[in-house]
């Protein structure tokens, strides 16, 4: 019996050896000119044995959103979300990624400059994932028209074509 288990474990290990490597996520960030984009490639782990394709895609998207909200390494000059902003959840609804951001996102310094750059980076990062073409933002679970005192419309999905 022990031998069988060892053999099975060996088979299991071997059969998963050839597993494909994960893809890369394109992390976009908006440069401090307010509109041009930088891009970094971040590789993503491959799909795990116990993860369905759709789960993997959702996990990939969530990882990408967390990356985009965190931004590139600190020594790279970029427009960044207000400190403390984080991704509360991400769900996929067809081609739209629903991203729920924490309320810290509302602590904008004012002006449309940063606001526009922040969401541009998030939208370009998520829509770089095949099958995602829109990003619906909510704040602390709520749909909002814009951020308080904001400019960018958030009550419908954002697309690359919006920039």
């Amino acid at each position: 019996m022990l031998l069988l288990i060892v053999a099975a474990a060996g088979w299991y290990w071997f059969s998963h050896q050839q597993q494909q490597r994960g893809g890369t996520i394109a992390l976009y960030f908006t440069k401090q000119d307010g509109s041009s984009l930088g891009k970094m490639l971040v590789s993503m782990r491959p799909r795990r044995a116990d993860e369905s394709a759709s789960e993997y895609r959702a996990n990939l998207a969530r990882y990408a959103a967390v990356q985009a909200v965190a931004g590139p390494p600190n020594d790279v000059a970029a427009i960044r979300f207000p400190p403390g902003t984080h991704v509360r959840s991400l769900t996929l609804d067809g081609p739209v990624a629903n991203v729920d951001l924490s309320a810290e996102v509302e602590r904008q310094a004012g002006g449309s400059f940063a606001e526009t750059g922040e969401f541009k980076a998030l939208v370009f990062t998520l829509t770089a994932i095949p099958g995602i073409d829109g990003v619906q933002v909510t704040v602390d679970g709520n749909r909002v028209s814009t951020l308080p005192g904001g400019h960018l419309e958030l009550d419908q999905p954002l697309h690359r074509a919006d920039w």
Partner: protein
Amino acid sequence: MINHFIAQTGRYLAAASLLGAMLAPRPAVADSSLTISYGRQTLRLTHAVTYSGHSAVGIADPAFVALLRATGALLSWKTGQRYVLITTSTPTIVSFALGSPRYDLGPTTVQAQFAPFERGGEPYLPFDDVVRALGLAAHREGGTVVLAAGAPNAPEPAQASPTPEPLPPSPAPSGATMVTGVDVTSSDQGLTVAVAISGDATYEWHRLRDPDNRFWVDIKGATLQGPPIEQNEPAPLVSMRVRQDEPDVVRIALTLEGPKGIAVEPSTTGLGIVVSSQDVAEAPRAGNGSVGSVVSEGQIATAAVTPAPVEEPAQPGSGAEENGWKFGPRSGYVPTNPRLIVLDPGHGGSDRGTIHGGVAEAELTLDMAKRLRDILVAEGWQVKLTRSSDVDVYAPNDSAHDELQARVDVANRAGARCFVSIHANAFINAGPYGTTLYVSKPEDYALAHSIEGRLADDGTKDDGIIKAHYYVTFHTKMPAVLIETAFLSNPSDYALLTSPEWRQKVAQEIADGIERYARDNPVR
């Protein structure tokens, strides 16, 4: 068929053995208490347990949450999710998976003390691993774990860490690993250096800062098969050198033509180094990872590549010129009131807009809009302001939607010729300055261009016309533009914005631009 049968049987046996492993008695979870100190705070973890001799902490533990906040880290998890993501202050993403004994620390996969587990609906993480990932050094003083900033967040060898727990074995390469060949092939994007590696190895790469454009990657735990290589290479490379640098380290050194983008990625045959023909401005200077079964056994492989910036030819940052539909079909909008212009002083009432040095955007925008109104009226235009005093347009303390829709409604109901929203910009540092015009619809460009042509010499920089999905420009039916006149957060722009003469000059230039637009785009 027989093979299929064997495979199926294997699958069942594998499942059975996994089930067996899951049903096997797990190390006992025992409640414990853990007192930590960080900076001047002493915190008592109340969701702390001992698990197989290590400390585990629940992510909802108030003291743990306070520790994360104090270090500038953020945690993302919701019920039902398997992955607990922590963003450190650097920022590095740390990804723990429930049930998995390895976690991803940015680009590398690391062995955890134990697999995170769920207890009472709350994920419990290996405390020492979290502490290391946060870049904290830990030592025990009596019953307290003293945490201090400053440790590199890469897992350290045992002697560097005074924590009493033995460190987990790192995924050490096993067997004889060979670098069996290095191939350089060119593609549209540049060159790919394919390093063929048999067996398991870890690697670490570095690059120097422009103008010294050298890059090298050390394949650790590997032997070079065959003689060293030293040869010239086509652009974007200059040359390549491959040699046994130390008894168990093979070094591949590249000299680049310039600050080219580089991506290092494990492949099924070893390691791929993609050198872009494009220069990059901010390139990461080091990274590491592993190749072979260390990463491909599937259980928890990895985010094994350090971010490498690449050029983005497809998305040059928008702007009127690059945008395809600048010359697209014009809207069929016909103003019912072709002599009426609606001006929208941004913000107002409960919404002050951005505030710097005691100056609120809401006041400046109203002042500029009134000056602009007076000029336009003197020129024979009818002008409607969405607000003519410091109030909310829809209702006091209204929602953003009602407020902005009310402004849009003023223009749409009146059938105005065009809509001009006036704002002042801001950023978190004093760097950005200049005038930016934002548009949302194809028909907005002509108006924006006419105004930009006049504003270009307003005394600050012309930051151009940028497309964005702004509420007021998107929902107005007529040509519309949102003008960010200057940055309150920049000292020289601030001096302009707070000068009545400058605001008068800007108002005059916007009026000239509107005149110009109306002349060039007569109503049919």
